[in-house]
């Protein structure tokens, strides 16, 4: 073969001729016998988490903050996306020293005596010492799981941010009474971010004994907050991976670095009898692909069908090298969800694109400061099953 003919000129569409001394053996390429690839072809684990009949999600609040430009301005002003969230000087941990100069300890010292019984007072102090306190909202949802027996069990996912806003929202949806009556079994915190977690005392005000599940990966400040906020119940730091809770309900902790010095996100899976898998997320920082692929590999679910999804949907934690694929509409398509309730960090424009693309988006009512009907908004509910 002539040296000046390029391989590219003839390799296109070629196959290696079988039986003509193709290198003796393909094993040659792994020239170093010591290299053990971790790519073990494993079968799907198909862990059985049982089934439940129905899950009803009530959106207590998805408006984490009310003005995006204020939030982005604060993050930039404090030094950027890698900065520790407790240093922003956002409420409730304001110390009066201004943007980027806060600390958990100093902020907590000012409000600790009022937690969790007098949140009006605590928030008043926080407002006086924090940066842009009026911008705080929060993310929280009520999950009502109907077991096969017909018995319904209640859980909270996240506890929002602003004490003031979240207390209003809790009262609007009757969460305060449910907590007081000890109807809600446990609080799952999806991740340590301010808008999902810092409103913790609002839950504890009504039920300080509630069991709390946090993903492992919380920072010391976050763990201390649970104590300082007056929690007296059981605390479980859920290890990365699958954790079964009740028949048909499991949580999954994804180890993933997240902006503002947060690590790890816990999402919820439900297996609905005769319907399929339902996924409930806080922000889905692990990315919708990892979220859905994990379910496929880890869980056994009805009809092998992804039935529904609720929550904030992130595509990926970083920009793709091929922008062609950097699109939530494309990412979501392949999983064939039958009911989609999205909000929070999904992006209104993205939700509208789902609708345009014909996805089964359950629209909301755009009440209580939710922006658009494309979102399953504050006070709206969605039922799977």
């Amino acid at each position: 073969m002539s040296e000046n003919i390029k391989r590219r000129d003839f390799l296109k569409g070629a196959v290696t001729g079988a039986g003509v001394g193709v290198l003796g053996a393909m094993g040659l390429y792994s020239y170093s016998g010591a290299r053990k690839s971790l790519f073990t072809k494993t079968d799907r684990k198909m862990t059985d988490i049982g089934t439940c009949r129905k899950v009803k999600v009530t959106n207590i609040s998805e408006t984490s903050w009310f003005n995006n430009q204020t939030l982005v301005g604060d993050i930039k002003g404090a030094g950027g996306l890698l900065v520790d969230q407790y240093s922003y000087n956002w409420p409730p941990f304001g110390n009066g020293k201004g943007l980027g100069k806060g600390s958990y300890e100093a902020g907590m010292a000012m409000i600790k005596e009022y937690l969790p019984h007098d949140l009006d007072k605590a928030w008043e102090i926080a407002e006086a010492n924090s940066v842009n306190p009026e911008n705080a909202g929060g993310y929280a949802a009520l999950l009502e799981v109907e077991e096969l027996s017909g018995n319904t069990r209640k859980f909270l996912l996240d506890s929002g941010w602003s004490y003031k806003w979240m207390d209003e929202c809790f009262k609007r949806e009757g969460i305060d009474k449910m907590l007081e009556n000890r109807e809600i079994e446990a609080l799952f915190i999806s991740h340590e971010h301010f808008d999902h977690y810092w409103g913790l005392p609002v839950t504890l005000k009504y039920d300080p004994t509630i069991t709390i599940y946090i993903p492992e990966g919380f920072y010391p400040e976050g763990k201390q907050y649970i104590k300082d906020a007056g929690h007296t119940g059981k605390l479980v730091a859920v290890k990365s991976g699958l954790c079964k809770h009740i028949p048909g309900m499991a949580s999954y902790v994804f180890p993933i670095p997240i902006i503002c010095r947060v690590y790890g996100e816990q999402s919820l899976y439900f297996n609905i009898k005769d319907k399929g898998l339902v996924s409930v997320t806080g922000c889905c920082h692990q990315g919708i692909i990892r979220f859905a692929e994990t379910a496929y590999n880890e869980l056994k679910y009805e009809k092998d069908q992804c039935h529904g999804i609720y929550g904030g949907l992130h595509i990926s934690p970083f920009d793709d090298w091929d922008p062609k694929y950097d699109d939530l509409v494309i990412s979501l398509e392949r999983y064939g969800f039958e009911r989609i309730g999205c909000n929070h960090c999904t992006g209104v424009l993205c939700a509208k694109k789902f609708i345009t693309a014909g996805y089964p988006v359950v629209e909301g009512t755009a009440r209580f400061r939710s922006k658009d009907k494309a979102y399953l908004g504050n006070g709206d509910t969605i039922t799977f099953g």
Binding site: M1, A14, G21, N297
Partner: protein
């Protein structure tokens, strides 16, 4: 560095639950460094990354990812392997070349066939589902060690990774059987070390950036590569190691015990010449304290400015919606400025200020100018610190006039693009009828051919018309303005400069009878920078834009040259485009621009 600082910065990468688990910590550390160093586009680009995609396969340990590195056309893949000696966290590194890259010739026949298959890039994206790919395109290994005596990151590869085929290789091609490698000939001969270092450099720079400290030790070791099989090419093998948070001690684990040559640098020594230019040295790269000081990193703090033109109804708003959504998703903030009041129906009561602001859907402010552009833009920058300013013109605006208006504003922002939207249905007629429509296309560097779904057969003719008006612009067909900004402007907003497609343009004007014309200057050798600037200045306001890749007599290497009224920008060009050219856009260039004085 005192221990408290070390813990502070490590803490910000890994929470205690992960850091305290010795088996996982170093695997997770690499992943955390990669993810955190790529959040901010400016930082990411400066470190050398051009986007990352996690190859998700839940049965595998997280950390399998593909990445592109600035100026490399192919894709690197990093995937966790079983731990190396002493429980060092080990990753395999592969490089998947772009099909038209010369390196394809150096890979094995089998790899070459795979690389030229039409679905190759699809397979690369999900490479963890095609484990044979990582073997075929293997380059070297990356090790990370997190121990009491420091954090170490290493890269190890052969200078030449290759082998011969004793019996030769035949391949079946569509044209018949071809002897691809003669018996005893070379199947693969890859400069593996050099390729792998192109990935290791940004990786190590990312460690320096996220750990907020430079390395305390750097050493390279060399040995004769183990010749475990007779068909392997004889070559040297190298291992490069950087250590952080230590006192100049080596990793001591997985190091080459049989090295016969080595170079060692520790922090009290001057940096050796051969590695002075490496990107991993500067502990001040990220600025003081815990803030991301973009200025210290040489990153322009100025927002990027996009001038958006197009006739009424062409789809500017749809495009903007998409643009804002994509930017918001990556934590960017966009300010949209409309240069005429009324189009969006803003509240008239607000308009007694210099400009009025309304909140658009999300992630964006929208302003209507009612007066002084500079005052308004300065104020918008102060109030909102946007990452992007999009100036949306009305359909009838001539971008040339706006360019002149913004010509003294280059201290406020960086002109990133003039993007023009042409309606597929009406575009042809509009271009025939209105000079201003033609000017919008002539001045654009990106043209969107919108409403393609409604167009039918006229699209080719329209595209041809646009190319005749502006052979230098990138033309993208779209529907509803729906196109990812990364496809228009490049990942990190770094699309390379393309030579106009009309190679026959030469130095002749294409539109002698029109008001605005485009000229291509082919450059055969280095040109004089002062002469070029003088010629542009002499043209005054008649020269609207100059853009291209040139070599200058008083600078070394190719440069990207850009001129917009009032601003010259010259930056190093590191792509593989060998064309040297300048595109000049202006009015009556025969009179006002003396191209010969430049050549």
């Amino acid at each position: 560095m005192p221990d408290t600082c070390k813990h502070f910065f490590l803490d910000s990468l890994l929470p205690p639950s992960v850091a305290e688990n010795p088996e996982d910590a170093a695997y997770e550390l690499v992943r955390a460094v990669l993810i955190r160093s790529t959040y901010i586009p400016g930082v990411r680009h400066r470190l050398g990354w051009c986007g990352i995609h996690e190859a998700v396969a839940p049965e595998n340990r997280p950390g399998s990812l593909t990445a592109r590195v600035n100026d490399w056309p192919g894709v690197f893949a990093l995937h966790p392997e079983a731990p190396g000696p002493g429980q060092v966290s080990r990753f395999g590194l592969s490089y998947f070349p772009a099909p038209d890259e010369d390196l394809v010739e150096r890979f094995s026949i089998e790899a070459g066939i795979r690389a030229l298959a039409p679905d190759f890039m699809e397979q690369v994206r999900g490479f963890s589902r095609h484990p044979e790919l990582t073997t075929l395109f293997h380059i070297g290994i990356v090790d990370c060690l997190k121990a009491d005596h420091g954090i170490f990151i290493s890269f190890q590869a052969r200078e030449r990774l290759g082998w011969t085929a004793r019996d030769g290789i035949e391949v079946e091609t569509p044209e018949g059987r071809v002897q691809a490698v003669s018996p005893g000939g070379t199947d693969q001969d890859l400069p593996a070390l050099d390729i792998g270092l192109a990935f290791f450099r940004p990786l190590a720079a990312a460690f320096t950036y996220t750990l907020k400290t430079g390395p305390d030790i750097f050493y390279t070791q060399k040995r004769n590569a183990p010749k475990s099989e007779s068909f392997l090419l004889e070559t040297r093998e190298q291992r490069w190691t950087l250590g952080y948070f230590n006192t100049g001690t080596r990793a001591g684990i997985a190091d080459f015990d049989d090295a016969d040559a080595e170079e060692v640098w520790t922090s009290e020594m001057p940096v050796p010449k051969f590695c002075k230019e490496e990107p991993w040295w500067d502990p001040d790269l990220a600025g003081a304290g815990h803030s991301v000081d973009k200025k210290a990193m040489g990153i322009s703090d100025k927002p990027r400015f996009i001038l958006l033109t197009g006739f009424l109804g062409s789809g500017k708003t749809s495009f903007l919606d998409r643009f804002i959504q994509a930017q918001t998703a990556s934590n960017h903030f966009v300010a949209v400025v409309q240069n005429e009041v009324g189009e969006k129906g803003l509240d008239a009561a607000l308009l007694d200020e210099t400009y009025a602001v309304t909140q658009m859907d999300e992630g964006c402010v929208c302003c209507s100018l009612a007066g002084n552009l500079r005052a308004a833009l300065s104020d918008i920058l102060d109030r909102f610190q946007p990452d992007f300013i999009v100036l949306e013109t009305t359909g009838l605006a001539n971008p040339a006039n706006i360019l002149r208006e913004v010509d003294d504003l280059d201290d406020l922002f960086e002109l990133a693009s003039i993007t023009s939207i042409v309606d597929c249905l009406e575009g042809s007629r509009t271009l025939d009828r209105f000079e201003v429509a033609r000017d919008q296309v002539r001045l654009a560097d990106v043209v969107l051919l919108n409403k393609c779904d409604l167009c039918g057969s006229g699209q080719d003719a329209l595209e041809e018309k646009i190319r005749r008006l502006n052979p230098g612009a990138a033309v993208h067909p779209t529907c509803h303005g729906d196109i990812h900004p990364g496809l228009l402007y490049g990942v990190n907003f770094r699309n390379s400069v393309q030579r106009p497609l009309f190679s026959a343009m030469g130095a002749h004007a294409t539109h002698a009878d029109d008001r605005i014309e485009t000229r291509l200057l082919d450059l055969s050798g280095p040109i004089n920078e002062a002469n070029l600037k003088e010629a542009i200045r002499a043209g005054g306001e008649h020269i609207l834009r100059v853009k291209g890749i040139a070599e200058f007599t008083d600078r070394s290497g190719p440069m990207v040259f850009q001129y917009a009224p009032g601003t010259f920008r010259i930056s190093a060009f590191s792509g593989d485009n060998r064309d040297r050219f300048l595109v000049v856009i202006g009015q009556d260039l025969d009179t006002y621009f003396d191209g010969r004085s430049v050549l």
